[in-house]
């Protein structure tokens, strides 16, 4: 029952619908008692040959009216109750989504998107079930079932009612038991299904290896084994699933037999008529569903409750990084002072940054070099205020970055991430992401700056081409350049290119860097890169190793140092030449 208490707020919100719906259910519960009675009367009148045209017409008219009223009522209570449960699903999804948009990147690092999706789909639909079918089964099993029993006991014979009901609790018990068993086995079958899914995914991802080693047959054998396992797990489900109908019909059959045997005795005693017995049996038929519902009720509630708890738990995760009370409502601009003595990612022992200090004047470009894991991304994440809890200060313009409103800070930064993520919509909408209504000229302008304009025109639908999974697949370099255009559109105070030129060829890289230089003379830029050519021109270059700065200076200074930077530079010159291929002769 606790789940109904937890959903209390919702039932209050939809008070009108639930009251109306349950009222109609009650009326249906009463009306449904009438036809069996009438059938009984007609049979008695036929038996005693007292049936007249008038009485027959009367009975038939009543049945027709009752049937029509019931049809209308049944339609409306469904709309009220199932409609409300649809509504519940809708608002839960909305709440979750809104909450997801407020969660920081550490939230997303700790959770898998598949799991979050499962909460927003499976758990929501389990709760929806509770508010719809759950309410219905609760009401049906108690109210409708109660009415039928009352009608049997008071209008026909209470002794017979008692006798006929003896087997019924077994139905509720067994269906509840089966339900539980079914749920367990279904879970196991689901796991087998997901094994099969993983296997298929792996085989397709590794198809070249399988082909190379000529292992198709063995791989199919492997799959066959998993498929057979799934079949056998599903069979276990089927064995429980198939128990429901026979059990129900057995229990109902026994009930029937009891009521017929004792009913016949009561008829002989003159306590009831044959018509009563027929009506009684029809009532028994009406009891089947409430008894089943009673058995199912517990399972529905249990699942709904667990799902609701999971959703609730997710919703109660607080927003991690929020604005300070008197946060500045200005767009930061000016010099950047980065002075972080120590920073660890949450839950990690090792420091990701140690004694990283640098200053960047407005309009300057900073280049950051280092291996994966050297701390490049950590610097950027702190600048973007995706993480907090570091020792030291980060100042942007006149103030520390956490003194600005978060939205204003983000407004000032144009971020081009390492994983170039595009949304499956048109190229225009992807570039105009930060301002979806911006004029076309601006979109084209930044596309030209990012050297992607020509590529876009070459697509069949130009700027209106859909990209992503359901559209044109772009090369890594094209995606990167669109991401750059997207960031340029906001005309940011600080542009961050997080290894965002890795997939474009050397010539284009040079061109993009040149156009950035011309366009953004007074704005600050930070570039991280594996490839040194992307940062050669920077005013300041820092070389990171295991979270600390090992070399710092301009390109010339670092080359003269003949250290790490110099080594890397030499190596890459060679690779560049190889990449340029035959054109290197120029």
């Amino acid at each position: 029952m606790s789940v109904f208490l937890k959903l209390d707020w919702f039932f209050k919100e939809r008070k009108k619908e639930y009251i109306l719906g349950l009222l109609m259910l009650t009326i249906v519960g009463i009306l449904i008692l009438i036809p069996p009675k009438i059938i009984g009367y007609v049979i008695d009148e036929i038996g005693s040959r007292t049936l007249t045209t008038v009485s027959l017409l009367k009975w038939i008219a009543i049945i027709i009216v009752v049937a029509l009223v019931m049809y209308v009522m049944r339609y409306y209570w469904r709309m009220m109750i199932f409609g409300s449960s649809n509504y519940l699903a809708k608002i839960l999804r909305e709440k979750l989504f809104c909450h997801f948009t407020k969660m920081s990147s550490s939230f997303y690092q700790e959770r898998r998107i598949g799991d979050l999706m499962a909460h927003a789909t499976n758990d929501v639909s389990a709760v929806q079930q509770t508010a719809g079918a759950g309410v219905l089964t609760l009401f049906d099993s108690i109210v409708t079932g109660g009415f039928v029993i009352v009608a049997m006991a008071f209008t026909i014979d209470w002794r017979l009612t008692f006798i006929a009901l003896i087997p019924m609790p077994f139905m509720a018990l067994s269906t509840s038991f089966y339900g539980k068993l079914l749920h367990e086995r279904f879970g196991i079958a689901q796991a087998a299904f997901s094994d099969l899914n993983d296997k298929t995914q792996e085989s397709i991802a590794g198809i070249k290896v399988i082909k190379t080693f000529g292992q198709q047959k063995e791989d199919i054998a492997d799959f066959t084994k998993l498929s057979e396992n799934l079949v056998s797990k599903n069979m276990k489900v089927a064995r429980v699933d198939s128990l429901f109908d026979p059990t129900i019909s057995l229990i109902v059959g026994i009930s029937f037999l009891l009521s017929l045997g004792f009913g016949a005795k009561f008829i002989v005693d003159g306590a009831m008529t044959i018509g009563d017995l027929v009506a009684f049996n029809t009532y028994l038929g009406l009891l089947v569903w409430p008894m089943l519902a009673f058995g199912m009720l517990f399972n529905i509630m249990e699942r709904g409750s667990a799902s609701y708890d999971r959703i609730h738990q997710l919703l109660s995760i607080p927003v991690e990084i929020d604005d300070k009370v008197d946060a500045l409502d200005t767009r930061p601009a000016g010099d950047i002072i980065f002075a972080v003595d120590d920073f660890k990612f949450p839950g990690e022992q090792k420091s990701s940054l140690k004694n990283v200090h640098f200053e960047l004047k407005q309009g300057q470009t900073l280049g950051i070099v280092g291996k994966t894991g050297a701390g490049k991304t950590a610097i950027l994440k702190l600048l973007l205020r995706e993480f907090e809890g570091y020792e030291g200060k980060i100042i942007f313009g006149q103030h520390q970055i956490d003194e600005y409103k978060k939205s204003r800070l983000k407004e000032a930064i144009g971020y081009v991430p390492q994983e170039h993520f595009l949304f499956s919509t048109t190229i225009t909408n992807n570039i105009a992401f930060s301002n979806i209504d911006v004029e076309r000229e601006k979109v084209e302008h930044v596309a030209k700056l990012a050297y992607i304009h020509e590529d876009i025109l070459a697509f069949s639908n130009g700027y209106e081409t859909i990209v992503g999974e359901r559209g044109v697949s772009l090369s890594g370099g094209q995606k990167q350049r669109i991401s750059i255009a997207r960031a340029l559109l906001t005309n940011p105070e600080l542009l961050i290119l997080d290894d965002s030129l890795s997939a474009v060829d050397a010539k284009t890289e040079e061109a993009i860097l040149q156009s950035l230089k011309n366009e953004r003379q007074h704005a600050t830029t930070i570039i991280t890169s594996h490839r040194l050519s992307a940062i050669e021109h920077a005013h300041l270059i820092i070389v990171l190793h295991e979270g600390t700065i090992v070399e710092k200076g301009t390109h010339e200074q670092l080359m003269a140092l003949k250290g790490k930077y110099y080594e890397m530079y030499q190596l890459q010159q060679l690779e560049r030449l190889v990449e340029k291929g035959g054109e290197a002769d120029e």
């Binding site: 029509l68 063995e218 199919i220 799959f223 057995l250 930060s434 030449l577 290197a584």
Partner: protein, 589 residues
């Protein structure tokens, strides 16, 4: 994928018939299940008849002779109990058949996937191939397990009820037939609307999920560009649309499912009562017959309700089936091999005027010719798109080519059996793909003939044993998905061991460019050197230092070989290779 197609009746029948063909191997089981079903239907029909006899012969005339009554009660009870068992086995049997059919279909799909050529995988997203083999077949399972078996059961039960009614009272049974068209009409109307309404709801749901998963994956970008509000609005809009379509679906179900079937039930009851009432004006009517008819009519509607509720699944399963069959019918197969018993003994390779294009328009290899002597190494150098990888793709028979030919030991590569090629050509991919399992299973790859010793020897040979021995479970160390717990260098070494374990005659290397730490790189280079010894090797080299001792170096550019020769010859040509060499030694011109 979101636009669910609608099918004409003919297409539906075609798909259904093709699905039913899968029942063929289970013919005997099907007949047995149908036989059991017939028995349960007879039981269902007999029950009310016994009660009728009881009511008419005993209760109505107040004749309570013990023996016949005990007989009646006994047989009623026996039939009930028997029926419980038979119907249980019948239900299980139907499910068993359905599950086995789907199991087979799934294996067929998967086997087909393995026959498909690389071209197919280039053009079809992996996710959609996976869902053909899993989600779509699962939808067909629902069709077989729920829809078809409940259709068959309903049909049998309805026929059984009608037969019983005809035996009891043919005229009334004819009247009862009148409700059939009514039901068929409701089904028709429901199908007509639900195919639209239900499909719209499914489509909105999938849009909702796509939006959700995309937003979750791109949340970093959404937040960085402060678009939370817009995304909330967009989600709100789709959520609302989904809600509206769900309400339409609820409305349709409320109008046309259970409530309307119940209404028809009352029509049937009214029909019955009027008939018996009117006939009672003239002659006496047996009360038991009325009872039996009422019971039959009550039972009659249960399977109909069940069938109606499954109808929505039907459409979905048809869509899934059509997709599965499209994959099974896919014609982009892998290149064919002739079945000969030619063997690769020496590993003498010759490319002769090979021209190749992926799309049939722009050639990526133009008239390529070269030879590699047994045991020698040829290295391919050049930029991305120069054609290096295509040479390997053709040699490995990933793609079919039309112009020119490739010979191994004098026979065309097309004439070797698939087995022979796979056994004698060993490819090491740039991205060493590891499977979920253990180190051991990743080296031996299903080859049960390999002994543990041989596996370890292979690891030793490529010097992978050093790091493997340091793992807590050594060769039985678990390898997670894609081998994410191992460094890329370690993964590469395992991939080497895997290739060496098959002892190939020809080695094809796509050298790794991934950032590998210096220590493992040294190990990898010396392993490679060992592996190449005594084997014909074709290698793509990104680092020139590794190929100085190659007998032949081909410098490729735009599908052509622009320079060729050994290290010394290329140096004296003073071309590109020369430049590279100078740079490598730190002598900048």
């Amino acid at each position: 994928m979101n636009n669910q197609p609608t099918f004409s009746n003919r297409e539906q029948t075609k798909i259904l018939l093709r699905l039913l063909k899968y029942l063929k191997p289970h013919k005997i089981s099907v007949f047995f299940a149908l036989f059991l079903l017939t028995l349960t239907v007879i039981g269902d029909v007999l029950g009310p008849y016994i009660i009728k006899v009881f009511l008419d012969n005993h209760v109505a005339v107040l004749n309570f002779e013990t023996k016949p009554i005990v007989f009646l009660a006994g047989s009623y009870f026996a039939i009930q109990v028997l029926n419980v068992f038979i119907s249980y086995f019948q239900l299980v049997k139907f499910q068993e058949i359905a599950l086995n059919v789907i199991g087979q279909l799934r294996i067929d799909v998967f086997s087909k996937i393995h026959q498909l050529g690389t071209r197919f995988f280039d053009t079809t997203p992996a996710g959609s191939i996976v869902s053909r083999a899993t989600n779509d077949t699962e939808a067909i399972k629902d069709l077989f397990v729920s829809v078809l078996s409940s259709f068959v059961q309903a049909a049998f039960l309805i026929v059984g009820m009608y037969v019983a009614m005809f035996l009891l009272n043919p005229i009334l049974a004819c009247f009862a037939l009148l409700i059939l068209p009514l039901i068929i009409m409701v089904i028709y109307i429901y199908r007509k609307y639900s195919s639209v309404v239900y499909m719209t709801m499914r489509e909105k749901l999938s849009q909702l999920n796509v939006k959700l998963s995309e937003s979750l994956s791109g949340m970093g970008i959404v937040q960085a560009f402060r678009q939370e509000e817009r995304f909330n609005d967009e989600f709100h809009q789709i959520n609302n649309e989904h809600f509206r379509s769900a309400m339409n679906n609820t409305k349709l179900n409320s109008l046309l499912l259970r409530p309307v079937i119940d209404l028809i039930y009352f029509v049937a009851v009214v029909l019955l009562l009027s008939y018996f009432g009117v006939s009672s004006f003239e002659t006496a009517v047996e009360v038991g017959v009325i009872f039996a008819f009422i019971t039959y009519i009550n039972r009659f509607f249960e399977p109909i309700n069940q069938v109606m509720e499954q109808l929505a699944l039907f459409q979905q399963a048809l869509v899934a089936s059509s997709r599965v069959f499209a994959l099974i019918d896919e014609e982009e197969l892998e290149p064919a091999q002739q079945q000969t018993d030619y063997e690769i003994r020496d590993g003498f390779i010759e490319f002769k005027n090979v021209t190749f294009s992926y799309d049939g328009k722009t050639p990526v290899l133009k008239n390529i010719s070269f030879t590699v002597n047994p045991g020698e190494t040829v290295a391919l150098v050049g930029s991305t798109g120069s054609g290096k990888s295509s040479i390997i793709n053709l040699l490995m028979r990933f793609y079919e080519f039309e112009h020119g030919d490739i010979f191994i030991d004098g026979h065309s590569i097309k004439s070797y059996s698939k087995n022979e090629l796979r056994r004698k050509l060993g490819l090491v991919l740039q991205d060493p793909f590891l499977f979920y399992g253990t180190i051991d299973s990743n080296i031996r790859l299903h080859d049960k003939n390999l002994t543990d010793k041989e596996v370890q020897a292979a690891a030793q040979f490529v010097q992978a044993d050093q790091f493997i021995e340091q793992l807590p479970d050594k060769y039985n160390q678990k390898v997670t998905e894609r081998g994410s717990t191992l460094s890329s260098g370690q993964r590469q070494l395992i991939a080497f061991a895997r290739t060496i374990a098959t002892n190939p005659k020809v080695l094809v290397l796509d050298e790794a460019t991934a950032s590998i730490d210096t220590e493992t790189e040294v190990a990898i280079q010396s392993s490679l050197e060992k592996m190449r010894k005594g084997r014909t090797t074709i290698a793509i080299a990104h680092r020139l230092s590794t190929i100085q001792d190659a007998e032949l170096i081909l410098v490729m550019h735009k599908g052509e070989i622009v320079e060729r020769g050994n290290h010394q010859q290329l140096l004296s040509q003073k071309g590109l290779y020369h430049k590279m060499y100078l740079l490598q030694n730190g002598i900048v011109e």
